[in-house]
């Protein structure tokens, strides 16, 4: 396959970026999207040019590091996958592919296609934890009976890998799907009850401080999410927030 790539290049956080055009040839349809970018970078390095910076780590869809906005959608045109699971057979020979970083005030560009997602870390730090009895008589989690529906919903919420595609997809750059998944996975389980009310208030407060937008229920976040995190979680977080606001501890 021969492709035209339009890629966002930006020297650093303080520089002004722009879209640059590159041509790549002899790309196998069996390559992953990131391998195609590796080929591009090998060519750029051979020519003495700076390679395109992009985030990646596990390349098997579980670490949440890859973060490309491809042809107008986070993680590209396929559903329920991360960029590293996207393959070139999804594109046509001669196609022009647009590649940009996540765009949000709370995700500033570090270089080219890499963005700083530490705002997510700070939201987790604000409440995404549980108290553990460290006196030596900690109860085995597997010995605590949990309704199957709650366990399933908690597990589904916990599959969020924190990649930020929800923010990238949302027209408001809202982080509510991510935050609601983190609130839900703990609020549904017995271990998460101690900090339940503080957690939702603190995580929402931190989310707002980071400068994410407001959710207007377009649903784009859930559709573009590589782990298909449900909007049910946002509804649950709203209920948790209401209860914590009306009946604070």
């Amino acid at each position: 396959m021969n492709l035209t790539l339009k890629i966002w290049r930006q020297q650093d956080a303080n520089s002004k970026g722009a879209m640059h055009t590159y041509e790549v040839s002899d790309i196998s349809e069996h390559m992953s999207f990131l391998e195609m970018l590796d080929v591009l970078n090998e060519g750029l390095v051979a020519k003495g040019e700076s390679p395109v910076a992009f985030d990646h780590d596990c390349r098997e869809g579980i670490c949440g590091m890859c973060s490309l906005y491809i042809n107008g959608e986070p993680h590209g045109p396929d559903r329920a996958i991360t960029t590293c699971q996207l393959h070139m057979r999804k594109f046509k020979d001669g196609e022009t592919i647009h590649i940009e970083p996540w765009r949000a005030k709370a995700f500033p560009v570090i270089k080219d296609l890499t963005v700083d997602r530490s705002s997510f870390d700070r939201i987790i730090q604000a409440g995404g934890y549980v108290s553990v009895n460290t006196s030596g008589n900690t109860q085995d989690a597997n010995a605590i009976p949990i309704p199957k529906a709650d366990a399933d919903n908690a597990f589904d919420a916990a599959t969020c890998i924190g990649c930020g595609a929800c923010v990238a997809a949302c027209k408001n750059a809202s982080a509510m799907l991510f935050v609601s998944a983190k609130v839900s996975q703990l609020a549904l389980l017995p271990q998460g009850q101690v900090e339940r009310k503080d957690r939702v208030m603190n995580m929402v407060d931190q989310m707002d401080k980071e400068g994410f937008g407001n959710c207007t229920n377009t649903g784009a976040c859930s559709i573009e999410c590589p782990k298909e995190i449900s909007l049910d979680n946002i509804a649950r977080m709203n209920r948790e927030f209401l209860i914590a606001s009306v009946l604070p501890e």
Partner: protein, 223 residues
């Protein structure tokens, strides 16, 4: 309370609750309007009651005015905040792949409805206020139907009303079900029913207003 409204989730609740209030008001407004097709006497009676009853005038009307103002003001504030949350837009985007046009453009349909409100107030509410509170005329019980007929005899006004109700339909088709989501009412059992009701309400209510406007316009042609 002030601290609460500063958080994004509280703003969602505030927007949804004011939306629910306006959904209920629209249904009430349509019900009275629709009687103008069925019986001029009934329409005059109900309009006179709503226009002169002290509880409606001095309790419900200020609440309605506040609800409308709050919904508009909050919508504009949210839009400005949301635009600020993305300082640089994508150069190439495909939002239609994951969301509806209605859900992404509530501010456009909302502003269209706001402009319509300006026209509607100019046509009906401001003359009503002048008649009652400046001229002091409260007791003409049979004027409402003839005023309605007179207004909708104008084809341009009727066309503007029909167009505005189209925008209202687009606003309601997302707003109705979105309000339920915002207050946390979402589950596998009831959400499909809520979405069905949202589609029925979002089409039927604006269509009802359109039918009333067109009925009186075409009625004026035969007079």
């Amino acid at each position: 309370m002030v601290a609460l409204i500063r958080t994004s989730v509280a703003r969602k609740y505030a927007m949804a609750l004011s939306g629910f209030f306006l959904l209920f008001f629209l249904l009430q407004h349509l019900t009275i309007n629709f009687t103008s097709i069925l019986s001029a006497e009934t329409f005059n009676f109900l309009s006179h009651f709503m226009g002169t009853n002290p509880f409606v005038q001095y309790a419900l009307q200020p609440v309605l005015a506040f609800g409308v103002f709050f919904h508009i003001a909050m919508g504009i504030v949210l839009e400005l905040q949301n635009r600020a949350a993305r300082d640089l837009n994508y150069s190439y985007s495909n939002p239609a792949a994951s969301s509806t046009w209605m859900s992404r453009n509530m501010i456009i349909t909302g502003i269209a409805v706001l402009l319509f409100l300006g026209l509607h107030f100019y046509d009906f509410w401001f003359p009503e206020l002048k008649l009652k509170f400046i001229d002091g005329v409260w007791n003409i019980e049979d004027r409402y139907f003839s005023e309605l007929q007179h207004k909708f005899a104008d084809p341009i006004r009727t066309a503007l009303y029909v167009l505005s109700f189209g925008f209202l339909a687009l606003h309601l088709l997302h707003g109705f079900q979105s309000a339920f989501q915002s207050v946390g009412f979402r589950n596998n059992k009831y959400t499909p029913t809520v979405k069905l009701l949202a589609n029925i309400y979002g089409v039927a209510v604006p269509l009802g207003f359109i039918v009333v406007a067109l009925y009186h316009y075409f009625g004026s042609l035969t007079h």
